[in-house]
Symmetry: D2
Subunit: 422 residues, 4 copies
């Protein structure tokens, strides 16, 4: 396969292609096929985008129909019939059943942009400057969202100070059990050097940060503190939302009431870009028209496929399937971990985001490589890349899921053996 054109003309920054040294030609549901005909099972899911599989048939049909009929592909924030369908259906399928009256805000179609917009709105609505973000949090790469991102590997590239963020440990990090109550005491102490923040920005399930699942109790303690000190609660559900954890939002059913929810990744269904924030009306009212713009904030193709994606949530059958498959994943990982009792491996996750924390980036890297060699795509994440994260399409057939888990198990055995030898 010819990769010279990339090596000669693409930036040195390219990353995943180094882990998956092949050239993909086609993709369908949970399979990606390379130019030489090798078929890979996809447990990576486009970094959490492809919840409904590659080239979802219903979306293909809808997109081809849309393009054939000269639908408005690019509309900024003008009104289009396509966008109306999406907004209308999102209201009907997601918001109304939950009694939510949040306003939908579209912006530049990246998760990073969604977070930037949320931070602006929280700062404007409160007149405050600092935002609380958490260890192991991942929120994006642009300067505002990068300040909230915790990983030093990304932060070091800013080239300028990353300020206006208060960093607290996430529930599952050292000190995480007491951080919220201690921070509360400090905020109430006028000699603590702290003043009330504009917002708490939290991922109910940290994905890139290593698949860390917050408890309902902890999230409610964050929400309670936000309410007490007049700060907003922002949930970044960009990777964990849109059905990934077995419910539409990752925090469904927890009796939580965020002021802003950031969404992107799986929202467009097909892998085309879109980002959307849900803002409570009284918060949203702080915006003026055009306050935060973005050229690609009206994407017809993403509206079309995203509308199809919402069909998966009109009843509980799909999310029930996600929960069922998630258990299959979880059980296999626990079996694997149990087979290596001395390794200190830990299994974590929710729904179809399940992970094995190998506690060692080198081990996880070997697992990834051994998986690729066997025809399985996975992506490590977390501190030093030590966590093997599984986020296959939610639509993955049982056969592919089982086959993928078999390959993973083999790869882990091979990696573990190699590691021992080395």
């Amino acid at each position: 396969m010819d990769t010279a054109v990339f090596e000669n003309h693409e930036s040195e920054i390219r990353g995943y292609c180094r882990n998956y040294p092949t050239v993909f030609a086609t993709a369908s549901n949970a399979r990606q096929v390379s130019e030489d005909g090798t078929s890979y099972i996809d447990f990576f899911g486009g970094a959490g985008v492809l919840n409904f599989g590659h080239n979802n048939p219903k979306m293909k049909e809808a997109l081809i129909d849309f393009i054939s009929n000269d639908g408005v592909a690019h509309s900024l924030d003008t009104y289009t019939t396509t966008k109306r369908d999406f907004v209308s259906k999102f209201q009907e399928v997601v918001l109304a059943p939950r009694g939510m009256d949040h306003k939908m805000q579209f912006m530049g179609p990246t998760g990073s942009n969604a977070v930037e917009a949320a931070m602006k709105l929280a700062r404007r609505a409160t007149g405050r400057r600092e935002i609380v973000a958490f260890s192991h949090g991942f929120h994006g790469m642009t300067l505002g969202s990068l300040a909230a991102t915790a990983n030093h590997a990304f932060r070091q590239w800013a080239g300028v100070p990353l300020d206006n963020i208060i960093r607290l440990p996430f529930e599952t990090a050292p000190g995480g059990d007491t951080a919220i109550s201690e921070y509360r005491e400090a905020l109430l102490d006028t000699s603590s050097g702290l003043t009330a923040p504009a917002a708490f920005l939290v991922e109910p399930v940290q994905a890139e940060g290593g698949v860390n699942v917050a408890s309902a109790e902890w999230l409610r303690s964050v929400q309670d503190l936000a309410r007490e000190v007049g700060a907003l609660l922002i949930f970044d559900d960009i990777q964990a939302g849109i059905g990934r954890t077995g419910s539409y939002f990752s925090f469904d059913g927890m009796d939580l009431d965020p002021d802003i929810i950031t969404l992107a990744k799986g929202l467009g269904g097909f892998g085309t870009p879109i980002a959307m924030n849900l803002n409570k009306p009284e918060v949203d009212a702080h915006w003026s028209p055009g306050a935060h713009t973005g050229t690609f904030r009206g994407q017809g193709l993403s509206f079309v496929a995203g509308t199809v994606a919402l069909d998966y949530f009109t009843d509980d059958s799909f999310t029930a399937e996600v929960t069922r498959k998630g258990k299959v994943m979880r059980e296999r990982l626990e079996k694997i971990a149990a087979a290596h009792p001395d390794a200190g491996w830990e299994v974590r996750g929710k729904g179809m985001m399940q992970a094995l924390d190998t506690m060692d980036g080198a081990v996880a890297k070997k697992v990834q490589q051994a998986s690729f060699e066997r025809g399985l795509l996975i992506g490590p994440c977390g501190q030093d890349g030590r966590v093997v994260k599984l986020i296959p399409p939610l639509t993955i057939p049982d056969d592919d899921l089982d086959a993928g888990l078999d390959l993973l198990e083999q790869a882990i055995e091979a990696a573990a053996t190699t590691t021992v030898v080395a």
Copy 2:
């Protein structure tokens, strides 16, 4: 037309829909048709994205073919055959003929993200912090690019200080004629309070800032100073590039040699998102793999349509047409301005980005409204929105162009009359 769903459920931030109070249903080349059948001539071009028209037929065909055949729509920065076609053709059509050996970097698919990446790279490559940006410059809405954006209407929403930018007047702004030489003297003076910047970030043609066209001499003086003080030269060609001004880059033929060029908007051809920076190899070498990521940095549909778009630049026939139509636009605007000698109106532009500076935001707003009422879409820009900017698709048929200019002329007469009366 039903707009209640937007009014009830979409954010108050929505903007263009207030200028164009209709619901668009379809679009083709330079025409957008609303739900009620009204056909609008499009002189707005999706804010500079739709250089090749809405639903460009060759792109439609290529996209439908790509989708039908399960092409890889979402690939992050793995290798795909589709991406290889794009990279290869961009090298062949754009870089090679110009003797450029820049590396192509893909990132989150917004212009803002491209600028953020360029700023990071410049800061890393030089070990410096401050970046020179210019009055009336527009570079994006995320915290890093927003710091470089000049317009107070956008800056006020940051909620935090926008630092690490040195602001100089653009060539056409007050003081712009001497600013570069004075800044040079200050940099050479160790008691000036200034130290050398990481980069000069400049739009060769400012679009959002009011259609301000820099001269080759001035751009060379910026480049010379950058070289002298060890700073990088970054050209933001996001709106003016991709053929808009009558050549692929807006600065072609000026004997200029930028270290980084940021591209987005028209690059994907069809209106689907993509962004790409061109980095000189010695600058690009400062990146490490994965240093600046972005979920949507590998967009199959944008690669496919973007490859088709490059066909327009394999010879000079298309750019010659752009130049010809640009003259038609220019002459009409000059005629209009000449008809109002006392108004102090000014005509500015290059290629098919032409503008009438009415010197008064209220006038431009009336022109926009009067145009819309007559079936013409335009968008004001510049200081206080006083500049009527025309950026129709480059592929606009002559009939539509003439008809659009007629409508514009009528709208301006109507607006001028109204203004006088009022």
Copy 3:
């Protein structure tokens, strides 16, 4: 007494004069006498400056001699015989006996300036930006030292962001027992969002912050962490040093080894300004000549009186007296607290800095007022000013000390009664 000239022509910012509404005419040891002849016992000691009493007789004699003989009163950092005497004696009396080889650095003669210099040096020596400071810490009013100061009442006046500080709870604040170990874990975690700081800036005894005394164990844990992560340890001993706590440094005998010690207040002995940092040689070597200047950094009168002050530390008799008197103060405060078992009052302190935390700023204010009415000067401090701090001259005669404590006891009874009534 005529105070109109102040009310008419002095700034509204004046503060202590509002607590002590009189005009002082003379002062001697622990007594200040107002224009109308009222004699006040001074438990305030010039906010910790007048450790050796007002108009210490030996210092008076030395100063008059110095002035009479045309000594060099103002010398910047040129060499003078007077400065040589001071440096030489400080080396002999303070550094040599402790085996310290720190270098003495003189700067603008305020504690704030000493802290600013220490922060610069730590940042330069480590190449890092952030400095850890603690809740309830007080380090000064200029922008750098103010960033390290915790009290919101002062911080709110900056008018610009106070950045580049990591805030941790002091040992005695909520969360203080685990903060250092949790911070350590976060620093070792590359996904925590934190990177190693340039320094830990800590007062071994917080004075303004409410008389909070750190334990040797906790200070050693801070020192250990600083060493482990390559950060400097800066002790701000500006108010607690120079004998106040019963030893020259407040941390003597704790087996601690700070890289930088900041001194000011009592160092000059007579109340004339001087500030000095003690920098370890390997840290001090990072300075270049003139890197941090200050017009008043060579004060002959402060050198002269400061040299006399060092006589108090040539043997242990003076510090033994301080310890003895401190116990007298402590016992009286404990007796007072014991008399109000339901009030939750707490007695804290070390040596002759002893305090009663009334847990209520309004109570402490009343105590201050009732004391003044009875002829006793005290100054509240700490969160909301709720802590009654006693810092009389170390040279206070036993009679005055006892008389002052009697007045305090009466004032507290009066204030407590008033409070109950109100």
Copy 4:
């Protein structure tokens, strides 16, 4: 002379002692005498502090009397009879004759602290963040004032970004003639990237910056712009005030009306520290009690000697003498410059601050060394230290002034010769 104690125990940061390698023992008026009996003529004046000579006899007498009688040496901002004398006399001698109703604010006794306080007050009074400062400006070493200081040699030591300052060229710097008008145009342009500042901070005569004298016209243009955009005008008269330029304030008689004036250096008369801001009442009203504190803000000795110093300004005889001696200095420097027509030397100054700009730091350094060898103390300043600045005590006898100028002339000839040879 023994300097080992300094070399062994004082910080490497010490500076002037390297230029003046001797140990001073006594000083009187414009003479400093070293331990070995060498008498030096002082054209350096303690960096602008000793306007009334070393050990001014009337001040000596007043100080000895004050100390002998147990005056309150250290008072923070309590009222003392001594302070009342000073405030009262300052009002009578300085403010009343000028029709000024500014309030006197005392703070930590350094010029840097005065500037920090002025910046805080301006930011609070306007609710704005940025302050305009000028190239070659010198305002201090603490983080806030250092941000306003222009010289890179000092700025590089901050270790953190120095933000919230807008830098404009001073009148005499390149671009200085048009900077104010261009900045005005930019402020009025909402797309310039600039918003109105809190204040303009300017030295009417830049001392450390190289003895640059602003014209009344230029200063009025700054004042006009400040008024127009709602910013405060802050004059830093720390080195040029208190009679130095032939009038009490350096800007007397120019029809200027600053909102805040910062004073320090010569204000205390004897060389003991004091700093004071003059705030217009409506500006001062923004302070709350204790908003900006400082331990040494009430200095009895400085009040006493400073009151004596005010006697020099009760009529015009003293300032007339300053003007006369200034002319003597000016003429000699012009004669010297005229003797080296090819060197491009420039003479600048006002009153008794006169300077020779040698355009070359190495030349000025040689002049300083050759002067010292001949018994004359001078200090270079300005860009790269190329400006020989003469600021002798205003009370210097004519004989010493002439003798000093003779020594200077000889030193310059020697230095010029050496330079040619080398």
